[in-house]
């Protein structure tokens, strides 16, 4: 009996450690590591990657004066190649003023309403995707490095909980596929680790560029779970957790995905 109790206590001691240690999860590979050689080539070639159409469009929008302030992004931030370099590696990030977690899309919209005094762009609209991918592209090949301590800590733990919680009619957690079955086939595609460094990404299934939240909605639908709204706190927290998981991986947006 004593031995049993000791074993029970030992289990109790070990369990939280196992559940909490990120070191126990396998090394995370970028989304491009799961692509065929042809699609890898397509992603790497700036002349061929269709996502570059949005990057080019974002560059135009960057210097377009809009809103009642009649200001462009460039009027404040100057050359994006210098001012936006590395920015995408730190998002999602908690906005100090509002205490809200913002991803790159929402940061751009916050700037539009507060600085340019213009209407916010719809999530998933062409101009918002273009600006987001243009800004993110300035951090090409730079390692993801988001902050998850301090004000971001509650969002991070919420995202982590979301990732490990079974959900939907299929009763699957994100972790079961993206940790447990990464590299295995799911119909015609290969299951990835769920790295976020390729987003916004051009998915062949969409035949267009799409945001990470669009991809997350597709995943939710896949396990027949609730699809949350674009920019919802659920997906934002998950995005933060995924970004932390992708820590150190180089930004590769616009990624090509199946």
């Amino acid at each position: 009996m004593k031995r049993l109790t000791a074993a029970f206590v030992a289990t109790l001691l070990v369990l939280p450690v196992l559940a909490d240690s990120p070191a126990t999860s396998p090394a995370i590979k970028p989304g491009s590591a799961f692509l065929s050689p042809e699609l890898k080539t397509l992603q790497a070639d700036e002349a061929a990657n269709p996502g570059m159409l949005w990057v080019e469009n974002g560059a135009r929008l960057w210097s377009e004066r809009i809103g009642s302030a009649n200001r462009s992004c460039a009027d404040c931030h100057g050359d994006a190649a210098a001012s936006m370099k590395g920015v995408a590696t730190t998002y999602p990030k908690v906005d100090a003023a509002s205490g809200k977690l913002l991803n790159l899309e929402m940061r751009i919209n916050a700037c539009r309403t507060s600085q340019q005094r213009a209407e916010p762009l719809d999530y998933e609209s062409e101009p918002l995707l273009a600006l987001t991918v243009f800004v993110a592209r300035q951090s090409l090949n730079m390692p993801m490095a988001v902050q998850v301590d301090g004000a971001a800590a509650p969002f991070y733990s919420k995202g982590k909980e979301f990732f490990h919680r079974r959900q939907g009619q299929l009763n699957l957690s994100c972790a079961q596929c993206h940790d447990g079955a990464a590299g295995a086939r799911l119909r015609a595609d290969v299951i990835s680790n769920g790295a976020v460094t390729g987003y916004p990404a051009y998915r062949l299934e969409w035949q267009t560029l799409g945001s990470l939240h669009r991809r997350l909605r597709a995943c939710s639908l896949g396990v027949r779970a609730t699809q949350f709204d674009y920019g919802s706190e659920e997906y934002l927290s998950l995005e933060l957790y995924l970004a932390k998981r992708s820590g150190g991986l180089p930004i590769e947006t616009p990624g090509i995905r199946k």
């Binding site: 002349a47 035949q207 267009t208």
Partner: protein
């Protein structure tokens, strides 16, 4: 909003007689006309029907496109550098509207 609608990548200079590779990417939905929307209505066909490239007074490349071509058609072809001049790319859509992109090729002896 001004959409970037075409991107052409090719060398800016070449020696006379060189074979140069040209990559042309075009932003287009290529709606095939066979799909239905949420209400069961057919989404009208909207495709680019042709790409033609003029260089040195001749049509050096021509392609007719059909509904099976994917969105944002990407075309790679090659031609021979004969003289300094513009390559003029013309995509023509369903309604006859043309998108034109020009790239200068400088040819050295």
């Amino acid at each position: 909003m001004a959409l970037a609608i075409a991107r052409v990548a090719m060398p800016a200079t070449a020696r006379k007689g060189d074979v140069i590779e040209i990559k042309a990417l075009m932003r287009h939905v290529m709606e095939p006309g066979y799909r239905v929307d949420n209400r069961g209505q057919i989404i009208p066909r909207d495709i680019v029907k042709s790409l033609s490239v003029m260089y040195a007074g001749a049509e050096v490349f021509r392609m007719d496109m059909h509904p099976a071509v994917a969105a944002n058609p990407f075309v790679v072809f090659s031609t021979v550098a004969v003289e300094t001049g513009e390559l003029v790319f013309t995509w023509v859509d369903e309604k006859g509207a043309a998108t034109v992109e020009k790239k200068l090729l400088t040819v050295t002896e």
